[in-house]
Point group: C2
């Protein structure tokens, strides 16, 4: 890849809002007013978005669930426009974040019948944390629960105050991550990752029918990797005890791929063979930041 002539400062940021190169949005946008929108955080490696087709499918599907149809050709056009500019600037690594909101207009909470959505693109620098991919994470149970709403469950929407207050109320050390539970104490995911575990060679992960974010790597593991590796899958509402009795545990998200979990509260694990196998396969299919 050719280097840009212009030096890009480490914290430089590039953004595009509705096709314009700006990092500002009108304060009447419903994304700010009501959290009325959704987002994608996409792995950006060597000037490519290797998982874009998954993100694109998810955002189109979930926006429709929110009664907020997105013009798929406009989305594809802006994605290409934004990524071409990053490549031109020599910003070839990190993450591309897309926020889609319902734009402006409507009568209070009631949206326009045919809203003009806002598409907001940002390049994000991502810190190197490759040691955690090898060492694994320690999980601490969150004391504050996730919000519950069956209509919104699984969607990566902008209403994340439950995640924020859970994190704000419980500061963690390096290498630790919050394990988020629903109001009845059933494990859902971590603050930034979906969670999986293996019990008797069955790959288990919580069902996300009342809360949680159905991540892209979670989907890939369930639909592609587990079948390819001959692993049976169980997706249901598991009690916390089922997780604590697992043979091995890991978490995943689209930026970092798969990370092992070596501890939840007092319970300890070694990094398991299925975790390492999935990690290797995932990395071989899609390069990691």
């Amino acid at each position: 890849m050719s280097e840009s002539k212009q030096a890009i400062p480490e914290q430089s940021v590039v953004s595009m809002v509705n096709g314009a190169w700006t990092d500002h949005l009108g304060i009447r946008d419903r994304g700010l007013a009501y959290g009325d929108g959704l987002f994608e955080t996409c792995r950006w490696v060597d000037g490519q978005l290797p998982l874009w087709s998954y993100h694109e499918s998810r955002v189109l599907r979930d926006a429709a669930r929110l009664f907020m149809p997105i013009d798929s050709r406009l989305l594809a056009h802006q994605q290409q426009q934004f990524c071409a500019e990053l490549v031109r600037l020599g910003l070839l690594q990190g993450a591309v974040k897309l926020i889609v909101t319902r734009g402006q207009g409507g009568a209070g909470y009631t949206p326009l019948a045919a809203p003009s959505v806002s598409l907001i693109w940002q390049h994000i620098h991502v810190s190197q944390e490759t040691h955690l991919a090898k060492q694994g994470l320690r999980l601490m149970k969150a004391r504050l629960p996730l919000s519950t709403n069956a209509q919104l469950a699984g969607i990566k929407h902008l209403n994340r105050l439950d995640y924020v207050v859970a994190a704000a109320s419980q500061p963690l050390s390096a290498g630790e991550q919050l394990l988020l539970l629903d109001a009845e104490g059933f494990p859902i995911e971590t603050l930034h990752q979906n969670i999986f575990w293996v019990k008797n060679r069955v790959l288990c992960t919580p069902q996300l029918v009342s809360t949680g974010v159905a991540g892209v790597i979670r989907q890939i593991i369930l639909e592609r990797l587990a079948p390819a590796l001959g692993l049976a899958v169980a997706v249901k509402r598991f009690p916390l005890q089922a997780l604590l009795e697992a043979d091995e545990v890991f978490v995943c998200n689209s930026l970092r791929g798969i990370w092992p979990v070596t501890q939840i509260e007092e319970q300890l694990w070694s990094i398991g063979p299925i975790t390492e196998h999935l990690q290797m396969v995932e990395k071989s299919l899609w390069p990691i930041v």
Copy 2:
């Protein structure tokens, strides 16, 4: 409430973001990214905010519940600065909307320990709907439920996607309003108002311990008006049937004050004497838009 689509002259839209006269906000603000903030919509009458002390107390208290302390002197200073400008411009009626967000910064959902909040002020034109104060509203049961989270219940925070999708999925006619229920079908409030009813001279309203917005007029009715009128009060989790068997029903919010309810689904009411009395007392204490 179905605000009429009155045209707003461009020049009369006045906004202030962190002390600057602008209507744009950085896209990295956590208010947009995560709905990480709260808001107030304040009645603005004859160049005054008659209910400001209530809004001010609520936003300071609820921001602290979100681990987001606000500098009360900065808030008071900006409120005076913004309102003085509206008066100078001759914009003496409508509403003043304040959005407070956790500003920028943090590691994903995890906020900074000492965030610098964003204070966003907007003047809003409000349509004249005085006929509904006399005629009353018809309520329709929402088919989609409110989100549940005990930590966030009662707070007028920016996570309102549950309200938006409920409204988007169920278009209404003029004079109609959605009655929002929790996931188990218990009545909570309407799309834009708290709800009260009278049964055997007891004033009843839903407890907001798992969802809902604890409105300023609701607080005034419970703490000031009901005692002044010698009305007993019941605040608890009521089944829908208790509401349908009421003697009279009304809704309230800070912009419109008290409006009667004359119909919920098939059930009809006349406008009740206690509703009219409360309406008269509230209007006499604080002028209405």
